[in-house]
Symmetry: C2
Amino acid sequence: MTTPVQQLTTLFKIQYPIIQAPMAGGITTPELVAAVSDAGGLGSFGAAYMRPDELRQAIRKVRESTKAPFQVNLFVPDEVDYRPEQHVAALDKLKHLYAGYGVDFAKASTQAKDDFADQVQVLIEEQVPVVSFTFGIPKKDILSKLRKADCVLMGTATCVAEGRALADAKFDAIVAQGYEAGGHRGTFHTTLRETDEIPNVGLFALLPQLVNAVSVPVIASGGIMDGKGIIASLALGAVGCQLGTAFMGCPEAGLTNSWREALYRSSDIETSLTNVFSGRYARGIQNRFMADMDSVKGNLPPFPVLNSLTSPLRSEAKRRDDAAYQSLWAGQAAKLTRRLPARELMKTLVGEAETAVRRATARCAAEVAW
Amino acid sequence: MTTPVQQLTTLFKIQYPIIQAPMAGGITTPELVAAVSDAGGLGSFGAAYMRPDELRQAIRKVRESTKAPFQVNLFVPDEVDYRPEQHVAALDKLKHLYAGYGVDFAKASTQAKDDFADQVQVLIEEQVPVVSFTFGIPKKDILSKLRKADCVLMGTATCVAEGRALADAKFDAIVAQGYEAGGHRGTFHTTLRETDEIPNVGLFALLPQLVNAVSVPVIASGGIMDGKGIIASLALGAVGCQLGTAFMGCPEAGLTNSWREALYRSSDIETSLTNVFSGRYARGIQNRFMADMDSVKGNLPPFPVLNSLTSPLRSEAKRRDDAAYQSLWAGQAAKLTRRLPARELMKTLVGEAETAVRRATARCAAEVAW
């Protein structure tokens, strides 16, 4: 008899139910993805902003170092209705910040190139084993093309209703993204997208409710940093878990030193959900850009237009290794991030999880009824 | 050798590390408290709004049905600076809502009686075994009086900094209140109280960071509804857990049918943190009062003045069993609330927790390395 966890590891053809979260913007390098997958987890590319050719090269680079399966995550594109005249204050503020930082605002494009169809084509041609989506459910023809190419399909839910929609669309697995999670909220539920009231359900509440609502395997994410968190999420009904911030401490992860140091330094209350970087809500460590944009956060250009508009400023901040104007995505437990190479982190997580189970076993034996 | 969980059950002199959360406003009846304590958990009075004599009678009533220990929780009072002229819009809105609901606004008092010293005196005279506080740390003389009376002292933390402050004040145990929790946020960290940016740390992130930061036993709360949640919180380093909403489904709990039905009906995304009922942030199921007060929520009279000002309206809504104008406190997993008498719920929780541990054991044995 296989356990639910084994059903997931069988589905993904991995050894441990540990997924390194896809993190867009260059964090999930081929080195990180290959190391995690080769260590028995599921390494993942956050490929949303990768050009199709760049994505193809990255996939091939992983395959040079491991035969193990891996995941590629894409953002589902949205109809964008951008009218600059409606966001004059925000644009003026940005111009002012660009000028103050010595970056030419003319570099900021409002044209977010939609590579989605080409990205999907690359995934099919390169036979990527696991494909996941954030911000919703792609059109049926895309899903069936991927299924025909034997891709395992995974979606992201921030509330029960989104989980149900993914189950109805026959996704193979669902990531439950708790409120604690760093980076973009995957919210796509239509009635919610139109307000700022995006779902903010903590993982302790989301996980059991989502597991009750769907019969698809549910993977936990948000605030999980170690083996204790892995076992806790399995206890709540997940069949695996996805860790993002935890893997940002790996030297293979592509982030600046200033960002890395901010992770180790930030307390439990120093991250916020903010829409000022991209136009969509995402969790990051509070910094100057968030404070500077606070006055215009109520009326911002939509995603991905704002993401493109803030991109040259953030790139320059990265170049200077200056935390002030980077999007310092991080989960609420960032302080627990460790400085370990990906292989060692995987080994540590597995060891901790096994210890946690053994402790539970010992407790059970020692205390019978507690 | 005693396990950390056994240290807690020894400290509280209880059988199971399960605490029924103190919930103010009449929910925690003597019947509920006695049933939970008699079943081996720690029943608790949310006594913040109880008159000293009423509290004394309630305590005695518990002792008539059980010799088991129980908890009384009080709100630590705050200096209140209330200037009606600064809240004209909010007061006008309230008057309008009172009139529309047929309740005389003149009944609404701005005088919140401060019974704290007298309440503490009752706890000492009645030798209450476990005393806990929300909204901070009482003055030293109060704490030492309670310690001399052999009361075990517990505090509430919504972030690591508050946990450290409680540990420094030599509290015997700390409740980690996750973002998922229903009712009032216990936040008291001074630099935070002055802004609306109260800590909003999900339990998955709060628990391990708080456990790392203090050597005092940490009790988990927020979104825990069943044995799986109990085991998950123990896996994350808690030595016990406190469940509020889960016990609101017990017939012994003192809440209206309309409120009870709202619990069973509400989805994962239907609770919000709101300050419109009391002047302090609390989590409840969204209803008409929250919507009606939305326009004035940015400038409200402080706690407990606003609590008194909204009290007659809420009382009338309770009398009519109308969910629209009650404060429907509930956690983010309210939908998982069960309709079981307190003794049966306790038995169910213990059974589920033992099953969860046994499953973890079986998984460990079956999968060795997963």
